[in-house]
């Protein structure tokens, strides 16, 4: 039992649990599971700038999502204290490939050589965090959803639009991994 708290979850636990958020939110309040709309709600609340895209009652339609993502942050906080501080056990071949990119510290959830405040001043840190974050925000808004909204919820509802989006996700991810990373690392 303690192992369940401290060890990472096997895929057959993690996957179904994630999938169950779809019916859970539908049954709770007819909400479609998704996270990226939170970014739109924050923009609408803080800096709508008279743009049509942000002209809507964000308090009425978006509050649920803002509370949800606030919970995600707290969940991360809680889980970080329950886990054992083992490394993410990635495959040897990935470790080797990343070593060739210059990664030597495999502790934690993300490499400190890239994802740390000092690394922001390096090319790989700046591009990964600032440019990467920007592309996430722009892309999810343009596509109207992220992995939870399209890959999980959208596919669960058999939406063709979500299948196209997911194909795009992977195309972009493969391009960045195999062509962009070698340029910036």
């Amino acid at each position: 039992m303690m192992d369940f708290v401290s060890a990472p979850w096997p895929w057959y636990v993690a996957g179904p649990v994630i999938g169950l958020f779809v019916p859970a939110l539908l049954i709770l309040d007819n909400r479609l599971f998704g996270v990226s709309s939170s970014l739109r709600h924050v923009c609408a609340a803080v800096f709508p700038a008279k743009l049509d895209y942000f002209r809507y009652d964000w308090k009425r339609t978006g509050s649920w999502n803002l509370f949800f993502v606030a919970g995600i942050f707290v969940g991360g906080l809680l889980a970080s204290h329950w886990g054992s501080s083992h490394d993410v056990a990635i495959s040897e071949s990935t470790r080797f490939a990343l070593t060739k990119l210059g990664i030597h510290n495999f502790s934690g959830l993300a490499p400190r050589e890239v994802f740390s405040w000092p690394a922001l001043l390096t090319l790989k840190g700046f591009v990964s965090i600032v440019v990467g974050g920007f592309l996430v925000g722009f892309g999810t808004a343009y596509a109207g959803g992220c992995t939870s909204g399209h890959a999980i919820s959208g596919l669960a509802d058999l939406q063709l639009s979500s299948l196209i989006a997911v194909m795009g996700f992977f195309a972009g991810g493969l391009i960045a991994t195999h062509f962009l990373l070698p340029l910036i690392f």
């Binding site: 996270v35 942050f73 970080s80 990935t94 990467g132 974050g133 808004a141 989006a165 795009g168 996700f169």
Partner: protein
């Protein structure tokens, strides 16, 4: 008169109380999702790299089983015409396909960012909770990206 008062049913929670209760419930669901993201390691840049290099089945197993469970749940909900907790019928509005451009192009742009940050929106928030505080910068940058989409939207093909 007193007999009437005794047999009257308890008043339901006021609309405001219900609204507060449900927001708290979303917050709790969010906590559980943040825990799930962390324990499943899907928020780890290392795992995302593994996925895009096809060097482990783990991420694919997680995504596939999540989609299978979610799809089966939606089928059950629709077949049984289930209603939500407040009694409203559950409906999922279909997304407009249009030319599909927004999904293909937007999706690819997001995919680039997903591989670069090693995170999608949910994981960004969970990572900050896990102590990778520099992802606050990624979130602010993501907000800027969403905002720019709002600005360019009338000119972009959808």
């Amino acid at each position: 008169m007193s007999a009437e008062l005794e047999t009257r049913p308890q008043p339901a929670a006021t609309t405001e109380e219900k609204a507060e209760n449900i927001l708290l419930t979303y917050f709790l669901f969010g906590i559980f999702f943040g825990i799930t993201l962390t324990k499943s390691e899907v928020l780890s840049w290392f795992r995302i790299q593994e996925m895009f290099r096809f060097q482990s089945p783990r991420m694919y197993e997680i995504i596939a089983s999540a989609v299978v469970v979610a799809t089966a749940s939606v089928v059950v909900i629709k077949r049984l015409q289930l209603k939500d907790v407040s009694g409203e019928p559950i409906t999922i509005p279909p997304k407009t396909l249009g030319h599909g451009v927004r999904y293909a192009v937007g999706g690819t742009i997001f995919g680039l960012g997903w591989a670069l940050t090693g995170a999608c929106p949910g994981p960004l928030f969970a990572l900050v909770g896990n102590g990778v505080t520099v992802m606050i910068v990624a979130i602010v940058s993501a907000l800027a990206g969403t905002w720019l989409y709002g600005l360019l939207r009338p000119k972009l093909p959808h």
